[in-house]
Symmetry: C2
Subunit: 277 residues, 2 copies
């Protein structure tokens, strides 16, 4: 583990660290915000999963989350969105596959299977590392994310309900097996067997196992990806059928950007703080 | 005037506009945040001047100012830090002179004098444009900025006390005639006659004319530029000698970054809101 930077913000510390990842077989970089309370005690922790094209940095600089996290005494861990620098053929050719587009799954297809194991990285390797090196309480963990990262948060929470106290998402890809982004990624990472796709589709997963607690989703009504890629109504219907409590809020006039996230991140942090007490 | 973008944030609108500038003899880009109150009434306006290497964009995405500005009903105008794309020789050779380093002055030396007239742009041209095209009250105006932009805010307010209700700064260059950044810029833009330099030095200006109201400055104690470039003690002494009320706050552990600005921007906005009522 190597500390890349540490900056004081809201009486806490915003840090960036790099480490050798066994899951991804490359060096990985993540951001972590430690609130001032972490100087004296172990604090609960929120994992934030970012969307397509992002690194660990976008949420750190643009969401304005540190202010409320400092008030509530919650650490935030912000992993990267894919392995980096592993030089696979075609890795950097498109914004929605390869670098910056790991989709929080374990790839099974060559050559991706060697490195693209973001599911294991986010669910197992990174929390073990964080719990060992930082003053966080590994028993009080929640998860959230945006777009592809909202897909990650929902699928990871639904597959591991015992590990997360709460889950929320902004503008999530809720049904990747039924939208172009997900179909392209899943075909590339998981191959043509569509039964393998379903284990990474929140709308499929919630029909098999619900999450113990209400799921919070914010979605902008002017989101340019709403109709073709995001389709929250599919998840809403599946939750209703499965008896999964869901608060889906359509936010009037907001788009897919970090301006939307910045506006509502405070409400998400307070939602998670209730569950992390 | 051409609208480049508009994004909803905190129930207001974050917009970016480009226009032909007479002062700078090139196209100029600025950001403007319009709070929700601007839908019904003319709102007061804060001008924010950014530091070296910045464009109009840094404060827009990193400061988290829109939340409190929306609550207080204050518009924020965020100009660029220099002319752009005017192709002067050497313009892009260094981070502290030329592009991104206009120093909010009117250059007198060739070839800079043709375009580098950020003082006229910020004091006259841009406010006239903003007052004409947006629902702002041109009689209720305040100014703030960071580093080179803190220098801009202080000098502009001291030279035009009738135009601004209040002035504040983060980590400002308070005595450019006595630090390497300022000496390099002033020699290039204004030539060797040091009497011309004094009209753009806040520590010199405050000894000639005070500002009607307390000046607020926040400075991080771990700022890497504190001792060589910023030297707030010089301005503090000049204010004391001149009878200028000054609140200079040394903030323990903070550096020169936007993490510092994000932490304290709320207090600056509330300081300006008092004066803008």
């Amino acid at each position: 583990m190597e500390k890349i930077s540490a900056n004081r913000i809201f009486y806490g510390s915003q840090e960036v660290w790099t480490h050798a990842s066994a899951a991804c077989a490359c060096d990985m970089t993540f951001g972590i915000f430690l609130p001032p309370q972490a100087a004296d005690t172990k604090v609960p922790v929120l994992y934030w999963l970012s969307g397509l094209t992002c690194t660990h940095e976008n949420f750190v600089t643009k969401a304005g989350a540190q202010r409320v996290a400092a008030e509530l005494g919650i650490a935030i861990v912000m992993p990267d969105t894919s392995p980096r620098g592993v030089d696979l053929p075609g890795e950097d050719d498109s914004y929605d596959f390869g670098s910056g587009a790991g989709f929080y799954l374990n790839a099974t297809q060559s050559p991706w299977a060697q490195h693209y194991r973001m599911y294991d990285y986010v669910v197992d390797e990174l929390p073990a590392l964080v719990n060992e090196h930082f003053p966080v309480d590994g028993g009080r963990v929640s998860i959230s994310g945006h777009s592809m990262g909202g897909h990650g948060a929902l699928t990871i929470a639904l597959k591991n309900p015992q590990r997360y106290r709460s889950v929320s998402a902004f503008s999530p890809i809720v049904a990747p097996t039924r939208c172009p982004w997900g179909q392209k990624a899943f075909a590339g990472y998981l191959g043509d067997d569509k039964s393998a796709w379903q284990q990474y589709d929140a709308t499929e997963l919630v029909q098999q196992q619900t999450f113990p607690g209400e799921i919070l989703i914010d979605q902008g009504s002017q989101d340019e990806f709403l109709r073709e890629q995001l389709k929250p109504e599919l998840f809403q219907r599946a939750c209703r059928d499965a008896g999964q409590p869901l608060q889906l809020r359509m936010q009037d006039g907001y788009d897919h950007s970090y301006y939307f996230i910045a506006t509502f991140i405070e409400e998400h942090l307070r939602f998670h703080a209730q569950a992390l007490r």
